[in-house]
């Protein structure tokens, strides 16, 4: 299985995402924002960072970059696409996911190990979790407040498209404590927290067992492989 990770100018977590793909058991393939070539990948990760400096709006310019026309076509064709943080912002700016992301309600950048509840295990990126499983993965963002109009929120809630919800604390003022959502088909998932930073013992969040031992993020990547195998 080949999982592409797109590097935009200003991407920060592309190499971490590639490493996470590898730890998850797939082959990471580096993709470049300026190309029109997906290099025959089976799935795509849009990593975190500050694409094009986030100068216009977070993810706005990246959503119009050359490779995104291929990503949008592939996503609409059913290919698994995961957007992490800035990648989530790119997905909403590309209209692959509904709603928008605005500056955190408290105005500050936030960086913490965040507890989430997995509320939909039928997506390409969450099928390895258990229903309502509670996980901890790092979160770091300045513009992570998820918003949408009431009709969209009602649809997301009603159709089970809220995949991850913040637990214990809402770090950025997101509507309905939403941390991540999917499209109707479940192949496109975006979330603000960073699963790629919780894939290897020694480098993830603290757990009750040991410091930095959290690897809950790895399941995102193994889920995608499971999903691809099921559809192969």
């Amino acid at each position: 299985m080949r999982v592409g990770v797109i590097t935009f100018p200003g991407s920060l977590d592309d190499r971490d995402a590639q490493r996470a793909v590898k730890l998850g058991g797939a082959v990471p393939v580096a993709l470049w924002h300026g190309d029109h070539d997906l290099k025959n990948v089976d799935a795509i990760v849009l990593p975190g960072g500050f694409s094009y400096g986030d100068y216009l709006r977070a993810g706005a310019i990246a959503a119009h970059s050359p490779i995104m026309s291929e990503v949008i076509a592939a996503a609409n064709g059913g290919m698994p696409v995961l957007g992490i943080c800035n990648g989530f912002q790119i997905l909403v700016e590309s209209h692959l996911l509904p709603g928008g992301l605005v500056r955190n309600d408290h105005g500050d950048f936030v960086c913490r190990d965040q507890k989430l509840r997995v509320e939909n295990i039928d997506t390409a990126w969450s099928n390895g979790f258990k229903e309502d499983e509670e996980i901890i993965i790092p979160l770091k963002n300045g513009e992570g407040g998820y918003i949408a109009d009431q009709e969209t929120l009602d649809r997301l809630e009603g159709e089970g498209q809220v995949v991850f919800r913040y637990l214990e604390i809402n770090p950025n003022g997101s509507a309905n404590d939403i941390a991540g959502i999917s499209n109707a088909r479940g192949n496109v998932v975006g979330l603000m927290p960073h699963p790629e930073h919780a894939t290897e013992p020694g480098f993830g969040p603290d757990t009750r067992v040991a410091m930095r031992s959290g690897t809950d993020g790895l399941t995102f990547f193994t889920s995608a492989i499971t999903s691809l195998m099921a559809n192969a």
Binding site: L56, R57, A60, V102, R103, G107, A148, G173
Partner: protein, 94 residues
């Protein structure tokens, strides 16, 4: 150079932390006559020739497609550069 201005504001129902911070500063400066502040963006699109209806239509399309995210922002003005009193500044750049 003739310039088309696009102004974008966060939607009214969206919290604007930048505006809120400035409003807080005004209170601290004892300028309590200003009850709220909201901060938006102004884009200046410069063109070589005269500003035509076609160019304005193009600017409007760009404003809604790229400059603003209409989920969270409103495009409130697309037109020739104007003065602070609303007058056209035709001589600008001459």
């Amino acid at each position: 150079m003739p310039t088309i201005v696009v102004e974008v504001m966060p939607k009214a129902e969206i919290l604007d932390p930048q505006g809120k911070a400035v409003a807080g500063a005004l209170v601290r400066l004892d300028r309590s006559e200003f009850t709220s502040v909201r901060i938006g963006k102004r884009f200046e699109l410069t063109v070589d020739g005269p500003i035509t209806a076609d160019l304005l239509a193009e600017a409007r399309a760009i404003a809604n497609d790229l400059l603003a995210n209409t989920v969270i922002e409103d495009v409130i003005y697309v037109g020739e550069a104007r003065g602070a009193d609303g007058s056209q500044t035709a001589a600008e750049g001459a």
